[in-house]
């Protein structure tokens, strides 16, 4: 890339040619404003976080000393513009469109203007780009063109994006302002040095210096200063707003910054010449940003000029320096007449973004005439550099149609004011857009807050529901527990009454102490609750087999029940494995007792079912009996053989046991049937077969036992001991009772059919039933107690 290569200049849509009014302030070069007695240095002179003061009232500061530190990444430190004493830190007049005050550090100048120790960089090329960026950051440099974005942040806005084009903005398209023009005329070598520093930081492929053709002297000075360096001074026709960052990029490269994006997205960075001057001062001279070049102009000044003034200088003193005629002053504008804002107070200080102070008279900047109706002439659309339709935006802004405003890209409006300038009906269009923008922002914020509140409310509702459900579960679990304890007590009482012998638990050698830990209890309750919910759902499903919801629920409930059971089992296992636990033995014993009771109850239920099934049980009854038997088996299996609560289970062994039990049950049934019909040959044959099956099942069980990996002491050997005499007696008595019962039943039936005396038969039947019940219960209790032993 050589300076000779002509670069194509692109046109931007729209634009206007307002009266330039630049010559007034160009007659005196750059003058040095006198040192003020009192400076007001605001803490917020940039976009981003407000700087935090690091000096206190009464401190003596030196020129260039840091007095407020950057508060965040996007922030800028502030330095003392001169040496003196900090007299106050607090709200002070501030140049802002709102007219609000801003925190500032007041410094009483001592008149010495004594620098603190500076650390100039002699050879910036020897430094790493990161170090240079840090220097720029520490010097408190923010964009001096007007927006005031922290420069170090802007240079690295998209760290992943390589910057190939560095654009230097010397356009200064606003009327009246000549600060950049003067800087380029009289400080071109320093600006070029600043560009070289940025080139070292960014390593761009090309550097374009854009200057409007109404500044030939500036362009000439810059060309001379560039010399043979790899930079190009591009002069293009004057048109407002060419100096807008987006517009300048379009003019020099033909590319458009994506809506909502940054120039860095295109691999470009745009910097104002004033900023480059500050970068030069910061790196080469080591001076932080404490002064800037500002245009003082307007017809209310007798001596319009450009001054280099300290940040914090009261505007009143600057205007007085430029010969302010207070009686003529009508409108005081900071910035240019197109995008600047009016100041209400002359006490506000000069800040880093003050590129111009325009003190206009009434004739010069008259109040606008009353707005006439929009006639949709379209001159605004022709002037708009963003190719918006300002008249449509105005129409929708009047109607507060925010959706259409967003569709019409209101937020791509750069508020350059070209539309208002050309409007023949004097409609303050930009004002409408600003109001609409802030309305939309406020609405979005409100929407955001509302969403946030809604989420919080929903979460709270969920939490409350969860708590209520938990409460309900706890209540159910407590009720269940109470019922179980009651049942256990009854069973115990019955046992004591029936067997006459001591309760099985009374034989237990371990002392009765402890029990389940609270956690275990809770887990047990949870498991029980889950199990109950599952059962309930299953019951409901039986009632409504088509209910898809229930069907879906069941697997979930099953899983929940399983998980709860597992958690409980695990907790128990843990507690039993804890040697330091106070009374694991006792706890285990208690548990064992409970399990035994459970098993006994199940067996009783089994018996009852068998009884009710009678001789010819239906399919359903048979299924139920088989299920109960399995449950009994399972309950038995759960009862620990020794100290461990959980018995290791051999699946094969279990299966063999089950087979045997089934075979025995079948055998018993046949025996029973045979006892009632002793002559039935079929039954006899069946009995023989079943005896055979029973024996083979026994053999299989023995085999399984021998093959079982579980050591024999933990197992319950079946039929290894001789048949219990008592058991036999009980069985016999039960069978007798049953036979009596059947006979009584038959008698009753016969009596009913014969029309004879049913009362006696009924009494007989009742007695037989009671006897059978007693026998069955005794048998069950005996079985339970035997297995417990």
């Amino acid at each position: 890339m050589t300076a000779a290569t002509p670069i194509r200049i692109w046109d931007i849509p729209g634009g206007i040619h307002p009266a330039e009014n630049k010559t007034q302030s160009l007659g005196h070069g750059i003058e040095i404003a006198p040192l003020p007695a009192l400076l007001t240095v605001p803490l917020q002179q940039h976009l981003g976080g407000r700087a935090e003061p690091c000096v206190s009232v009464g401190d003596t500061v030196l020129k260039g000393q840091i007095i407020a530190e950057a508060s965040s990444m996007v922030s800028c430190p502030v330095h003392a513009p001169t040496s003196g004493t900090v007299t106050a830190i607090g709200p002070a007049p501030y140049p802002h469109a709102s007219g609000l005050e801003e925190w500032a550090i007041h410094i009483e100048a001592d008149g010495d203007d004594r620098w603190c120790e500076l650390q100039p960089v002699t050879d910036f090329r020897a430094l790493e780009p990161v170090t240079l960026l840090e220097l720029i950051r520490q010097a408190g440099i923010s964009g001096l063109g007007g927006a005031g974005f922290p420069t170090a942040v802007k240079l690295k806005a998209r760290p992943e994006q390589k910057i190939h084009t560095l654009i230097i903005n010397g356009t200064e398209c606003e009327p009246y302002i000549t600060a950049d023009d003067s800087a380029m005329r009289y400080r071109a070598p320093e600006i070029i040095a600043g560009i070289e520093i940025l080139m070292h930081v960014l390593q761009p492929e090309q550097v374009l210096i854009g200057i409007e053709d109404n500044k030939p002297e500036a362009a000439q000075a810059m060309r001379a200063a560039v010399g043979e360096r790899a930079m190009q001074v591009v002069v293009f026709p004057t048109k407002y707003p060419s100096g807008g960052e987006k517009q300048l990029i379009q003019i020099l490269t033909g590319k458009e910054v994506p809506s909502g994006g940054l120039p860095a997205d295109l691999g470009m960075v745009c910097q104002n010449v004033g900023t480059l001057l500050a970068i030069h001062d910061a790196v080469v001279l080591g001076q932080p940003l404490i002064k800037r070049i500002t245009t003082l102009t307007g017809e209310a000044l007798s001596h319009p000029t450009n001054v280099e003034a300290l940040i914090g200088t009261p505007i009143r003193e600057l205007l007085d320096f430029a010969g302010l005629q207070p009686d003529k002053l009508f409108r005081l504008v900071m910035g240019g007449p197109m995008m600047g804002f009016t100041l209400q107070s002359l006490d506000a200080p000069l800040v880093k973004t003050t590129n111009c102070l325009l003190a206009g008279t009434r004739d010069e900047l008259p109040p606008p005439p009353p707005a006439q109706p929009c006639i949709r002439c379209g001159l605004c659309a022709e002037a708009c550099p963003a190719s918006l339709l300002p008249q449509q935006l105005h129409f929708f802004a009047l109607g507060k149609d925010y959706d259409q405003l967003k569709r019409q890209h209101l937020f791509d409006c750069i508020e350059c004011g070209a539309c208002s300038y050309v409007c023949p009906s004097s409609i303050p269009l930009v004002q409408y857009y600003r109001a609409a923008k802030s309305d939309i922002r406020a609405l979005d914020l409100q929407q955001h807050k509302a969403d946030h509140s809604r989420q919080r409310f929903e979460h709270r509702q969920e939490r409350l529901q969860r708590e209520a459900e938990q409460k309900e579960r706890d209540r159910l679990a407590r009720a269940e527990k109470a019922a179980r304890i009651k049942a256990a007590k009854e069973a115990e009482a019955a046992k004591q009454a029936e067997s006459g012998a001591g309760t099985p638990t009374s034989d237990a050698p371990a002392p009765k102490a402890g029990g389940l830990s609270p956690e275990q209890k809770q887990l047990k309750i949870a498991a029980a609750t889950a199990q109950m919910a599952l059962k309930k759902a299953q019951k409901q499903l039986v009632a409504n087999p088509d209910n898809a919801e229930l069907q879906a629920q069941i697997p979930q409930l099953e899983q929940a029940a399983r998980q709860a059971q597992e958690a409980f089992d695990q907790a128990q296992g843990e507690s039993s494995n804890q040697p330091a636990a106070p009374a694991p033995q006792a706890g285990g014993d208690d548990e064992t007792k409970k399990l035994k009771i459970e098993a006994a109850m199940l067996r009783a239920a089994l018996k009852k079912a068998e009884r009710s099934a009678g001789d010819s049980p239906s399919e359903e009854q048979q299924a139920e009996i088989a299920k109960l038997r399995e449950q009994v088996e399972a309950a038995d299996a759960r009862i620990p053989a020794s100290t461990t609560t959980k018995k290791p289970v051999d699946e094969k062994l279990k299966q063999a046991k089950l087979d045997l039990a089934m075979a025995r049950a079948a055998l018993k049934k046949t025996e029973r049937a045979l006892s009632e019909n002793p002559e039935d040959a079929d039954l006899q044959a069946q009995l023989a077969n079943q005896q055979q099956a029973c024996q083979s099942a026994e053999t299989a069980l023995h085999e399984a036992e021998n093959n079982s990996p579980i050591p024999p002491p933990q197992r319950q050997l079946v039929d290894k001991k001789p048949v219990d005499e008592q058991l036999r007696a009980l069985k016999t008595s039960m069978a007798t009772c049953k036979a009596d019962f059947k006979r009584a039943e038959r008698e009753l039936k016969d009596a009913e059919q014969a029309g004879g005396d049913t009362v006696a038969a009924q009494q007989h039947l009742d007695t037989a039933r009671a006897a059978l019940d007693v026998a069955a219960k005794a048998f069950a209790d005996y079985m339970a107690s035997k297995e417990t032993n």
Partner: protein
């Protein structure tokens, strides 16, 4: 010292709505003068009378609506409506015709919609169509033109000032036989037997390439329009759209120069209200489309409709109808012709509403 608080921009261009309106009025002058030359004082009287009616009616409605009368009268929009209407009406139209047309244009065409900038239809064209439909005889009575006496000696060409006044304002003024003539568009429309060459030779109403007199009036309007374009009062899009579409349509459906010819493109461009419409009617920003592309489409729509109605419709000229029809379409055109905004890869078009 109290400093004013105002938002930017602080500088203001010196363009005013009033200036725009005055420029439009000024640009009609060549046309006015030519019309007066060919058709006598009727046009001038029409303009003055219509202007007075328009201002009076506008003031009345503003007073009823409790709006500042002077402020709105000074914007000049009522004058523009009156002038354009007066130019469109036949010279020597009876006073009540002008009164009805202008009153309707101001009251119903503009003020009842909310005044300047709120009217969906071009007020002048609305007023014109109302009287065209209601009083077709009066509306098609164009006087003979200067120069006809050379061809038809017994026809009196232009009237003097007093004659004109009495013709317009006195009830008995309208009955002079052979005084009015059919317009060239009418002649071509009703012709079914003569070739175009024979027609030009037989009918004195034809001039070099369009109507005798009318072709000069059209050229005068073109001149005025060019001045407005030069002054950037409006952009070229709507006029070019209209003239281009009309030229293209008349080229496509020219039908040669036989007896069933629809007339040449040049004939259509310089006949009737084409030029008046292209430079003074479709350029009305209030009732037209907004964007450049939209204006091009709007103008083209008018051009096509003008030709369709002229060639196959029931009226010899159709600018008023075409403009009103396209006025209806303008908001839709606006939604679908928004330009591409800076930083967007393509324009966002359409209503943007899902329901």
């Amino acid at each position: 010292m109290a400093l004013v608080r105002m938002t930017s921009p602080h500088a203001k261009g010196n363009n005013h709505t009033q200036t725009i309106m005055l420029w439009v009025l000024g640009a009609t002058l060549p046309g006015v003068l030519t019309l007066t030359w060919f058709f006598g004082f009727g046009t001038l009287i029409n303009i003055l009378y219509a202007s007075a009616v328009a201002l009076a009616v506008e003031a009345l409605i503003l007073w009823v609506r409790k709006r500042p009368i002077g402020f709105f009268l000074r914007d000049g929009s009522a004058l523009v409506t009156a002038w354009l209407l007066a130019l469109a009406l036949p010279p020597y139209a009876p006073w009540w015709l002008t009164l009805i047309a202008v009153s309707f244009a101001i009251v119903f065409g503009k003020q009842l919609y909310g005044g300047l900038g709120q009217n969906p239809f071009n007020p002048a064209m609305l007023g014109y169509v109302v009287v065209l439909i209601s009083f077709p005889v009066e509306m098609t009575s164009w006087p003979a033109w200067r120069g006809i006496e050379a061809v038809v000696p017994d026809v009196q060409a232009t009237l003097g000032l007093m004659d004109g006044l009495s013709r317009i304002f006195l009830p008995s003024g309208g009955a002079i036989d052979g005084w009015t003539q059919a317009t060239p568009l009418d002649v071509v429309k009703t012709n079914s037997s003569l070739t175009m060459a024979e027609l030009y030779a037989a009918k004195p109403v034809f001039g070099q390439f369009a109507g005798h007199g009318w072709e000069w009036v059209s050229l005068a309007y073109l001149l005025g329009g060019a001045a407005l374009l030069y002054k950037r009062i409006y952009s070229w899009h709507a006029p070019v759209g209209m003239l281009g579409a009309l030229a293209l349509m008349s080229l496509l459906f020219w039908n040669g120069s036989g007896s069933d010819s629809n007339g040449s493109p040049l004939f259509h461009l310089f006949s009737g209200a084409t030029m008046l419409g292209a430079f003074f009617i479709v350029t009305d920003p209030v009732s037209g489309a907004t964007s450049k592309q939209g204006r091009l489409i709007f103008g083209a729509g008018v051009g096509i409709l003008v030709y369709v109605i002229r060639a196959w419709g029931g009226y010899p000229d159709a600018v008023a109808f075409a403009v009103l029809l396209m006025n209806l379409a303008a908001p839709t055109i606006d939604y679908y012709s928004t330009p591409r905004t800076y930083g967007h890869s393509k324009a966002k078009r359409g209503m943007g509403k899902t329901d």
